[in-house]
């Protein structure tokens, strides 16, 4: 499986704004571009032999993750708007990567829960409790949907933000990152 995609995403995430470069095929500056590209994903997975139900489920999960980046950073991107989005599948195993240079989970959730102490606490909250930082919008269940479906379909998710990472399959494990990710880096393995 290609590991360059993860390196490309990481390189883009940590680069100084003026030096951050990204191939246009992976860059979705707006939600419309992201959705148009994600709309092609289920057909591409099905053509390579994936079961229809799983292909549409993965598409739905990627939709929730990618749209979260736009929902929570709209008009507040620290420097570069949009997401890195790439999907690869060889007919047996696959991987989808969504990364953004946004505010990150901790800064986003602190609007609703000011006493959150660190990135690890924020990630745990995002995946396990009903919460949304959007004013006037008492919602926020997309990541719970993602988490439920990972366990049910034997997938693996790595979600990094700040100096914390959660790795989810049948359990949720938390790691401390040596190199910070300002924004989010999400890798769905299937």
């Amino acid at each position: 499986m290609e590991t360059n995609l993860k390196n490309l995403a990481l390189k883009w995430l940590v680069a100084e704004p003026e030096k951050a470069q990204i191939a246009s095929e992976y860059y979705c500056q707006t939600r419309d571009v992201f959705e148009a590209r994600n709309n092609k994903v289920p057909d591409e997975l099905i053509q390579k032999g994936m079961d229809d139900d799983l292909a549409y489920l993965i598409y739905s999960m990627l939709g929730e993750i990618g749209n979260n980046s736009f929902d929570h950073n709209l008009a507040n991107w620290p420097n570069i708007p949009g997401v890195f989005f790439a999907v690869e599948y060889d007919g047996k195993i696959g991987r989808a990567i969504i990364a953004d240079r946004g505010l990150g989970v901790l800064n986003t959730l602190r609007k609703a829960v000011p006493d959150l102490e660190n990135d690890e606490e924020a990630l745990e909250l995002a995946f396990t409790k009903k919460i949304s930082s959007r004013v006037f919008e008492n919602r926020g269940n997309g990541l719970k949907f993602v988490k439920n479906n990972i366990a049910a379909n034997n997938l693996l998710l790595e979600f990094s933000s700040g100096d914390a990472q959660v790795v989810i399959n049948h359990n949720m494990n938390k790691n401390k990152l040596e190199n910070r990710v300002d924004g989010c880096l999400v890798i769905l393995n299937f």
Partner: protein
């Protein structure tokens, strides 16, 4: 032309009229605004409502929260039809667990 229709004493909302892949919250919001302006306009809270998921390939909690949850909050007699696909089931499970969806 939208084919949501009212027969006898119930309103049937065919979700596929909004597309077969329903993902983002803004798109769900648009869909509910359209329903509010036409199909649901003037209906009493006791009006029987059927939400039909036939033909839906993908559905997320973000989209459904803006439509299904809001319809269920407004009307007392809501029934779900053809809700068997994997993403519809997974979405309804999440909404029941985290959005207090009662249907």
């Amino acid at each position: 032309m939208l084919s949501n229709f009212k027969l006898l004493n119930h309103m049937k909302i065919e979700i596929k009229n909004f597309g077969d892949k329903l993902v983002s919250r803004p798109a769900g919001r648009e869909a509910f605004l359209a329903l509010e302006s036409y199909q649901l306009k003037g209906l009493s809270e006791n009006e029987p409502i059927e939400i039909d998921f036939a033909g839906i390939k993908a559905l997320t909690p973000s989209w459904a929260d803006e439509v299904v949850t809001k319809i269920a909050e407004r009307f007392k007699n809501v029934k779900l039809l053809n809700a068997d696909s994997m993403t519809v089931q997974a979405t309804l499970k999440t909404l029941r667990e985290y959005s207090n969806l009662k249907i």
